[in-house]
Amino acid sequence: MSALARLQDGMLHLIKGRPMVANDPYLQCVERSRELAVVREVAIWWRTYHVERTCFHTARLMNRLGLLGRAVAEFYSRAAASPFAEEVGRQFVAEMTGHSDPLVASMAQFEAALLKVREGSARRYGIEWDRNPNDVFRALEKGGELPESEGMPCYYIEVAADIPDLVCCTRFA
């Protein structure tokens, strides 16, 4: 590995906040610098900006739950994010579909489906919710309390191109 490759690999680890393995005085100097934190913060700010614009609903919910900042920072550190803004949003929302909070996971699955259908997917997507999604959207829109979980999947949203307004919500019998 050339000196340039070693340097750039080291910088990648530092910028992404990953554990350092190199014992290089320059990289150690950068690691200790106040500027590194600022560069990382600016990079994460841009990622957050793109996420908020591409997957608006998921970002708004996660912001409301105080989860967005940390999730984007972790996403930035871990993922090989695309240089294209809208792709960053798609990658992020795809990751959030497996979130441990069932409400965040449902919202991300819904938004990922919506993005795919708007881009021309002919598939039908089904997403289960453990609370009334209409109440969730209303609470996010108006700033009210988010509805409590009913403890089990009780609503089902379908997303498909042939549904009027692309979305249909039903309550399980």
Partner: protein, 290 residues
């Protein structure tokens, strides 16, 4: 290495005004076209990912078609990552191929930096170490680019937000070497120089004294902001009087400058407003005699 640079041909005897346009705002484009001779476009911002690669946005291409002969196009990249050890971005080069196949490009340019390592996007732009290894690699790539495209190629100085890596050359010597070996031109971003001066005391006068200013073909102007105690290169504002004064100083000493480009991010347009952007262009035109 043989010099393979192309000469910028222009009908203008003195520098003229240019401005950024990142698509999606025809009203702004129409107003820009009344005020500038060149429109600077960034391929990365008018493209989207598609099928594992990327492609230019058809609406943005339609907008560029509307420009016709009212202005000439400058292509200014962000995503080439000319300094990445593993190679330049092939995806970016394909975007350039498409732009060159569709439009007459006056010249094109990129930042002397890297944005990708091992295929992974950094989410920021980092300055190159000024070593012989980096110099040889950059020069080889500049020559390849100049061979591939029928328009002059320029490289731009970037802001140094992180401590400099150990190297053999000063900033000016590194740029002089690249220009001498390849024949490429330079863009001087005077706002970036100001950021460096504010952040760590970069000696602008010494840099300009050492730089071969006859290689400078374009000047970039922008206004930014301080963040976390650093002046950062987020192009979100109108230019400060000190930035315009520095541009005037460079112009008085750089005889080959063809264009002065006011840069602002698309994301900053709603806050800046069309009137402020046009007002800024009028101010720059008057103060810099463009």
């Amino acid at each position: 290495m043989a010099s393979a640079g192309r000469v910028i041909t222009t009908t203008h005897a003195s520098p003229v005004l240019a401005a950024t346009y990142e698509g999606g705002d025809m009203r702004l484009l129409e107003r820009l076209l009344e005020r500038v001779e060149y429109i600077e476009i960034t391929p990365d911002t008018i493209a989207h990912s598609a099928g594992g690669g990327c492609e230019l946005d058809p609406p943005a291409l339609a907008e560029l078609n509307c420009i016709g002969n009212r202005a000439r196009l400058l292509v200014h990249g962000v995503g080439l990552s000319i300094g990445s050890y593993e190679g330049c971005s092939e995806a970016y080069l394909r975007l350039l191929d498409e732009l060159f196949s569709r439009f007459e490009i006056a010249w094109h340019s990129e930042h002397l930096a890297y944005t990708t390592v091992g295929g992974e996007n950094l989410g920021t732009m980092l300055a190159m170490p000024r070593t012989d290894e980096a110099l040889d690699m950059i020069c080889g790539r500049v020559c390849a680019i100049q061979k591939r495209y029928p328009a002059p190629f320029l490289l731009e100085n970037v802001v140094h937000l992180l401590p400099d890596a150990p190297g053999t050359y000063s900033d000016a010597q590194f740029l002089n070497q690249i220009a001498a070996r390849t024949g490429c031109g330079l863009i001087l971003d005077v706002y970036n120089m100001e950021c460096d001066a504010i952040n760590y005391g970069f000696d602008v006068n010494a840099f300009l004294g050492e730089l071969k200013l006859e290689n400078v073909r374009e000047i970039h102007l922008a206004g930014g902001t301080a963040f976390g105690g650093l002046q950062v290169d987020v192009h979100s504002r109108v230019t400060a009087p000190s930035t315009v004064a520095l541009a005037a100083d460079v112009m008085s000493r750089a005889p080959q400058v063809q264009a002065v480009t006011y840069e602002y991010l698309k994301e900053a347009v709603p806050k800046l407003g069309h009137d402020a952007i046009c007002g800024e262009l009028a101010r720059l035109s008057a103060e810099l005699h463009l």
